[in-house]
Amino acid sequence: MLAASYGARALIEPSNGARILKGSDRVSSGFAGLDEILGGGFVRRRLHVVEGRPGTGKTTLAMQFVMAGRDQSETVLYVSMSETRDELQTVANSHGWSLEGIQICELVPPDIAADRNRQTMFRSSEVELGETIKLLFDEIERINPARVVIDSLSEMRLLAESPLRYRREIFSLKHFLGHREATVLVVDDTTSGDPDLQLHSIVHGVVTLEELALDYGAERRRLRVAKMRGVKFRGGYHDFAIRTGGLEIFPRLVASDQTRTPPTEVLPSGSEQLDTLLGGGLRRGSSALLIGPAGSGKSSIALSIAYNAAMSGKSALLYAFDESAESIRERAAGLGMSIDPLIASGKIDLHEIDPAEMSPGEFTALVCRGVIERDASVVVIDSLNGYLQAMPQERFLSLEIHQLLAYLNRQRVLTILIMAQHGLVGAVESPIDLSYLSDAVLLLRFFEAQGTVRKAISVVKKRVGTHEDTIREFRLSAQGLQVGEPLSDFQGVMSGIPAYVGSQSMIKSADDTTLG
């Protein structure tokens, strides 16, 4: 070897056996979400890789990792092989961070640094690689940091030229670090597309960042722990977002992680007849699906339940994918419910969600945080159609919803899911079948009788307790929800093409205005 030579080190990793690492062996990653996924953070004194294609947020994650150490008064070192200090400062400025207290080492390979340092004679693996590694080791030895980031290994791979040589250098790096106190993150560009499995086999842990470009809307980012030795971590993909201020990571919800408390309390809908139809009302700790064509009154029923809960001092969360907050307030006013004071007092928490901008993981995190913060009794998701648009791979929608419902049930929340069906009258169909996931299903339909369009409601499923099997007429007015007598004289109401077989009278209204 030409320039730098570093003694052979035993290529045996100090074994930690099969024991599960304890909290004291962990280093906070700087993200509550990632710590949760990793079961406590990165493993102290170990080498971890953060990999992903360019632009997936690797450098941002790595910078937040060293800043978290800095904030705990640790000595931290950021070794930048591909970016200059100025470029890092630009990234920091864009997030409003200060890099004070972070040792930054620009480790630009000597070949590129200056013309007089250039060499054209030998392979870079025989000259620059050794020199770069020596500079790196010297710097780590001099600073003796508790956290180190090396950004990125791609430069090292270029210098090493051959995979074998590269692997040897990573080994030497790992064993050099093995004798020190540093917890290390190395950043690796997976520009070629495939993850570097050679690298995976050497390092202690691997976090993979991904970005999915959708046909429409903001890109989706997700993260996966591909490997973490001796640690129980939460597998699978977790959504994350890059915001001003850094990464926000949303751990995938695993409902079985949560403790269960049995549901008891019934929440009234605001209409005695509807509660009768429901066999007493909807319970906390369960979920209800309202399905029907657009304008059949699904959102109004959900709003009425939320309103009544809020009026009795409980707290309700409304997530509106389709409607603006303004139109919901108008709708409530039209139904004789004044929700503005309840919104002001925080009893009703109204969120407008833009499905093009929000990933399902972020939405789940938002709901979970809302439920905990507000101690919510009712959560309304209006509508699942909007939520569906937020899922780039809709085959997992039912799994996501299942986890969310299971979590909310355990939190003793009544979850109301709204799904609009295609078509207004006649044969209507659902975009996706979720009826098996919810504990109760309320079906709404339009029908035509005596020259007017009317609405029908029926409970087709309720997992716990009894419910009526009847179809009733249903009407929205300034008095709120009105549910009439069972429509026993009609046939085919649910099909939307009813045949009148009797002389039953419809709901008499005080005024003739009906609300959708």
Binding site: L2, R116, T120, M121, F122, R123
Partner: protein, 141 residues
């Protein structure tokens, strides 16, 4: 074994002509590591001066010859005793081939004993080429 006299050192030394960056310094440190004496020349003229004083082999990068007046060098080669066959190791630029080596290389190739190596060259390859070149004159009369 040749006695390590000053003259023998002079006759077995490696002359290096590689004006770019650290090329010469790195080559010298490689040769030193292999216990081979060398001298870095600053120009073609300097190389010729040193050749006149005595050397075992000349390591020259292609760029140091292209476009230069090599007439004097060719004359020097012609003046050498017939058994000498002084070796030159020419280090071609990255990706170069012998055909595109230029007029100067053609002339030199006809005049003397040239070995062409392509850069970047492996350290082991370069050392073995230098050692082989140094053996040849020693085996002479």
């Amino acid at each position: 074994m040749i006695p390590r006299s000053a003259e023998a050192d002079l006759c077995s030394r490696v002359l290096i002509l590689a004006p770019v960056g650290r090329d010469a310094a790195l080559t010298q440190s490689l040769l030193r590591g292999a216990e081979l004496g060398s001298r870095v020349c600053s120009s073609l003229g300097d190389l010729q001066l040193n050749l006149a004083q005595g050397a075992g082999v000349a390591l020259v990068v292609e760029e140091a010859l292209i476009g230069q007046d090599i007439g004097e060098l060719v004359e020097w080669i012609a003046r050498q005793p017939s058994w000498s066959d002084f070796p030159f190791i020419i280090l071609l630029g990255p990706g170069a081939s012998a055909e595109c080596g230029g007029h100067e290389l053609d002339v030199l190739q006809r005049a003397g004993n040239l070995t062409l190596l392509e850069r970047p060259v492996g350290t082991a390859t370069l050392l073995s080429a230098v050692r082989a070149a140094l053996r040849a004159p020693i085996s002479g009369p």
